[in-house]
Symmetry: C2
Subunit: 160 residues, 2 copies
Amino acid sequence: MMNNIKVERLLVNYKTLEMFKRFKEYGNQELSMLEDLESNIIENDSESPFFGIYYGNALVARMSLYKVSAKYDQYFNPPQDYLELWKLEVLPDYQGRGYGSALVKFAKEFQLPIKTNPRINSQTFWEKMGFQKAKYNMERDLGENPLIWTPKGVAEQSVS
Amino acid sequence: MMNNIKVERLLVNYKTLEMFKRFKEYGNQELSMLEDLESNIIENDSESPFFGIYYGNALVARMSLYKVSAKYDQYFNPPQDYLELWKLEVLPDYQGRGYGSALVKFAKEFQLPIKTNPRINSQTFWEKMGFQKAKYNMERDLGENPLIWTPKGVAEQSVS
């Protein structure tokens, strides 16, 4: 079944933004994209940091991915470019079909370390995907519960 | 009624950590405090970044506060020390009694700007407390929905 799942980069347009409203984690990022589109600060159909999965014409799963530059890396050793992953979400009616896993697998294919700060209670999913808790460091993590995944040869940065 | 509410700094000890388990946002931070206590990395009854309100002997509300140094300030103008506030939470049976407001008022009394990244759907509360949305900047905010409060004479930093 997983073979039929296609992950694609989402374009910023009114249709995408309308579909985003069905997701729980609709917030400042989406509102800001809408404002930028309305005021022509960004072009229609420009690339967004979101990737998603369609079921027919409906967007049913999505995540946001952003490459953080090595100079800001506080998580991995050696310090390097890594991916921040957020807003991984599958609409309730479409859960349990492997869409969440397909998105995470897609992110791993960039072969960069990944950091995410998932909602509490999704621990089991992330463990299954090979993520582990980063050692908590208050100055860096504040209220976050960061989880990390590392490709071969990459270790966690030690924190004081 | 607000006059009877006393906000106090919480000490790290087994009793506090046991009471933290009643809060929804129990995560890496609390687990890390417990490990540090068990392995004597931190002393019993040392100061924590948490402030809370007791009702009798029970901790019924809490928040975490941390002063971020001016050199890391990406939110305020002029750049300055500010407070990051997180895990503001009142136990369900004690909501609607002004405990949340009392905690935020306490934080404001330091007369430093405040930044928080609240859960979605708490918008009304934060507006009532004088907070406003920071202009979203993806590289800085990633998946966050930052809200800020500024004392007189402090403005928001403009972002590109």
